[in-house]
Symmetry: D2
Subunit: 402 residues, 4 copies
């Protein structure tokens, strides 16, 4: 398999959550060609391949497949120019701005290695290509659609995520490794009218603006400084015309946390503030909330994580093993492990140009110079990222498939 | 002409600025049927009709034709369910939420009366049906497209606007009668990234929210209490996904004023605040400004206004003559008078259910009970509004066409 | 009487509201020396002098005597360096920052003229020197202390206020001439704690800051643009140490309005916002409000105002008569007229250096170049201000004391 | 020594930073009575006692002596009713709201034990009673005033701080144990004027309010969620009268951090925002900054901390040893160790009523039910707090004075 060509093709053809038809087709075709038992359409667009190779544990390797509604600005020859229907049916640009194309490529590469080396290992390999990690809870949807009736239930769930750490590195953080997320849209209802007669209206733009400023205080004042929480108002939309005061404004909010008490306090604070803003505005309405993703904390099994990191040290050398710490990003990979009642190890894979990242670290300019996941400029270097990702999956799985 | 049927048809088929093709067709057809010389396509979708009737002054009567991107919620049998391409090409709902359908209907009705009573008056009547009053400066566009080369230049420009005042009333305010407006869209550029890593971004939603709160201080602190100004942020749009921090936010702002010094101070204050918000955020960017409507103060000629109000008193009785005061809404009708170097009288026409409006005034609940122009609930009562509007146009024009 | 020397002495020795002991002593001494019947201690520190001169109307001329807790920065040779106990008992700087020293000086000068010219007029002159106009409602306090049992009730109340208009000018605005004021202190209670543990507190500084920003929207969004209202948060005090989060914050607010409905709506809006801020903060407390001055609209009798302005035109020439418009400042002089059931005329007296003010008007820099009342830099030019003020009082009073 | 009586007396007589004359007198008297060599007036009001007892290491035990400008609301029989001159010379209430009275009492008690048991240990004990920990950097001031020329330089610096953890417990966190602090007062200059004429002013209250809201975004948006920082605006003072707009507002800010890069970024962000607020307001001024405490991170030596915690386990049992984690409070005790180039162990001492604290932990109401340091309600239970504190000091010091 020409993994780099595959990667460029996937990158140029990103698909939004639950729209991964082309991607799933390519994945299924490759898995079949490698001789795996292939299941498609699990959880709408999910794909799973099974490679049975004698007695031994079952290892589930997971990749996610969806892109994001971001207009790519990397300038790469293989940059995406795709659009697709967004939530409201109107076309939006699409980009693999979170590196799921890397995840797919590496997992197909790893399957190929296992398929080619069946004499060297024993057990069952399950490769899961999940839809809708970004938007829709694809892992849970696959489980509910009978994933573990169609493929053998695993003894361990493994997976990886590409990040701007230097390419060539990989490593997992034991314990709470990624944040819980609660995503929702809240509509604040005021009263519309003509822009020249604010006194006849309850201005939702002012209400929303005041709410956004007040919401900053949840993190700055209500959470203990040593605790970790994020409240991001990612979207704010109100109005159709600059001289019409709209009847309402809608905020898209995501909350991250690593601890249930903190999570509860943040969500309470957000709710309390939004309600108070309506009262401050004199609006008789309640906020309308539409819940989106609600992913739990991603918890890496401590013992299994130590095994995986040791395998990476053996494979790549000690100096190539990352300790990424706890990340404020969120994942639904944990649902695959929880549903099977087995441990999870989810590691980070370096994808940044090593020289550029190390220079930025030295200069203290990482945040301005190195585009992070979800940025329109996010662009992992294909190599050694893909090679490292393939080897990391193989090395980790071999811990169980000896 | 069945004016009420015409009105209901126009109301059910609103069209956005410069898209008034169906409306213009109906207008042209009616004018032709009444025997006027008809000019179409002036300023893209504008129509003018000329009725020459011997010696005497030329009176220009003006109506505007466009609807607004508002989703109608009146529940009327003739409510609009239309959509049309909005600024970004995506479909938006359309509604005659500002009553231009009343204006068209009344002007056609007035033309019919003049056409039927040519023995009673002398001079030239020019009926102008202007496109794009809401968005695009249709009056100026018609002038620049040669309006006064195609129709006789007027000696006086007259027009009216329907409002929630009680139906059956009409009247003009002498002097500065409606505000200047400056409408623009400003984009504040930050830096995008993942919602869980705000420290790698410059959050444009926070920047926009802080800007909106700060902008309130222009009116509350920078303008003398006795001066009049409005700063409305009618639209605020940022982001595509609640866990992506967007690279920028766009504010649609309209500013109203009645005085050049106030206008300059407000615009300076807005600009200063927006620039400072970028600095507060640590953004290296300048705001990007896209100017929209910039209409001057609508100034009613004092002497001509006295004549028109006197004609209304004679036609309807003293008690039916409104003194609306200076309105903070804006209009481009003044450009038709300025271009011809002649006086303007632009009056307000009552369209509210008289009993309901008077009860609301008595109860002090006008602002909550009576939907104002641009509201999704704005619904003038067809009668006596249309009848009064027709008679007001005829009575005012007869002052010059005696 | 050497009026300029008197003025410099008064300016150098300002006294706070109801502390005007030295000032009242000087006033009483001068009135006695001029042969008036003198009443002291009316309303604590108020003084009234009566000059009976045969039959005819009784005219009340009023001056106010108190200074302000402002640290003078005029740099004048006669600048104040005084301090006095403030509201909390601690010493505060004191300055005649509102020009009441001019008012006293001019009224004593006018009394002197009347005392020296008793052959030229007939009637009764009552000169009232009121305490506590700035803080305490001295006019009402004098009335309640029996002013009109001690001196003859007037047929007309006259008075003046010095402003930065050019010296040499004077004039009164008919009708609603000065705003109603409602002044109050509101304490917002949160929960105190250590500055490093915000999560254990309810931070009153953040609550107060959010409240101040929200309060701007009362004027910017809730009042019709043509209506006039001011909401000023003049004081904001919270905390004793930068690493202790205080239990509460106190805002000193003053509201101005010219209309009862607007006044009610503004006060409702302020109250609603303050309560909502407590809710947004999660505070279980209600705001604590301590009401201060609540002065009504100052209404000049239309007919009497015309007489006074005509007298000024005769005295100074037409071009020296001001039309100041309605002012957003407030006064309690109206209580003296209301209590007697008689008309009031209260005019403005120019005190600005004429050349400097006119140059600033021409350059559009009045607001930055000309210090206004209550500024630490407020400094009327002694002449022709004092001379004009004396003549204005005499000319106005002679309209009734012919 | 009757330690409880001493404690109640100290609690009832708190003194502000560098005003600890009465306290220092009591300390010196007690040290003398116990036979120590006593040095007073080190760093203005600091006291040190030396107990030489043969060969061996020198151990420095440190207590701090100053109270806080807080009005005590504990209702205790021994509650403080003291006042003292504050920063501006006006009297402020004073309270031992941070428990330094416990620190003094325990250290005197520990010295007594060492003085009574000289046969059991060998070496030199230095007891340092430091002034001005809250305000003034007393540790640094003692060092600069020649502390280590007057007393033997130590081999280890030990100390403790009482907190609301359950009384009977003690323990130290290895490594970065307490935050760096940067405290400062910033004055934002606008332009004053009359409250009714905001357009002639640059309102510093609005500027300060907007700044406070904006400053929340430093922690909520500019710091990585996993990093720790606190920005507290502890004081905000502007204005003297509700109808005068003041010329400036002053914010007392304290910043906490555990990492130099975070510290730099927060301070940069605060500075950037304050400057931008002046620009947003149109003020031509720069902010004026007056720096206060700037204490470094308190770093506990890892090896020495392990010894101290082991000594506590032996003394009190394993279950009584706290792991407090890193605290966001700050301390200058580290300067005593840094100046001597020796390790530091600074532990926390429980002072909360054990039943009440444990019930609150169980109920999740610690933050609302248990007053924290600097609260007007902060009241450690005298016992077993004092007994535990004495034993902790003795046990820890004996590790070196075996």
């Amino acid at each position: 398999m020409d993994l780099e060509a595959l990667y460029r093709d996937l990158h140029a053809h990103p698909e939004l959550s639950f729209q991964e038809h082309r991607t799933a087709g390519i994945v299924a075709e490759q898995l079949s060609a490698l001789g795996l038992e292939v299941h498609t359409g699990i959880g709408r667009t999910g794909v799973a391949g099974v490679l049975r190779n004698g007695d031994g544990p079952t290892v589930l390797l997971r990749a996610d497949m969806d892109g994001l509604p971001v207009r790519e600005e990397t300038g790469l020859p293989w940059a995406s120019t795709q659009t697709a229907p967004g939530d409201d049916g109107n076309p939006v640009p699409v980009m693999h701005a979170c590196g799921h194309d890397i995840h797919i490529t590496c997992l197909l590469g790893a399957v190929e290695r296992f398929a080619e080396t069946t004499d060297d290992w024993s057990g069952t390999l399950v490769a899961v290509f999940q839809p809708a990690e970004e938007h829709g809870g694809g892992a849970e949807v696959m489980v509910q659609d009978g994933l573990y009736e169609k493929v053998p239930a695993p003894d361990i769930v493994l997976g990886q995520h590409v990040t701007p750490f230097p390419a060539g590195m990989a490593g997992a953080h034991p314990g709470a490794a990624m944040a819980a997320v609660d995503a929702f849209e809240v509509t604040l209802h005021g009263r519309g009218g003509h822009g020249s007669r604010p006194e006849t209206t309850i201005d939702p733009v002012v209400m929303a603006a005041s709410a956004v400023m007040r919401l900053q205080t949840v993190v700055s004042r209500e959470i203990a400084p040593q605790d970790t929480a994020v409240v991001t108002v990612g979207t704010l939309h109100a109005g159709t015309k600059n001289n019409i005061i709209a009847p309402s404004a809608t905020l898209g909010i995501s909350v991250r946390s690593f601890d249930d008490a903190v999570r509860a306090r943040v969500l309470d604070g957000v709710d309390r503030i939004l309600r108070a803003e309506l009262q401050a505005s004199g609006s008789p309405h309640e906020p309308t909330t539409d819940w989106g993703e609600r992913y739990p904390v991603t918890v890496n099994d401590v013992e299994a994580t130590a095994r995986v990191n040791a395998a990476f040290a053996a494979e790549f050398g000690e100096e190539a093993v990352l300790e990424p710490g706890a990340l404020s990003g969120s994942e639904d990979v944990g649902n695959l492990a929880t549903a099977a009642g087995v441990p999870l190890v989810y590691w980070l894979l370096g994808g940044g140009d090593p020289e550029r990242v190390r220079a930025a670290i030295a200069a203290g300019t990482v945040e301005t110079d190195i585009p992070s996941n979800h940025s329109p400029f996010f662009a992992p270097v294909p190599q050694p990222t893909i090679d490292t990702g393939v080897r990391a999956l193989v090395a980790a799985a071999r811990e169980w498939l000896a």
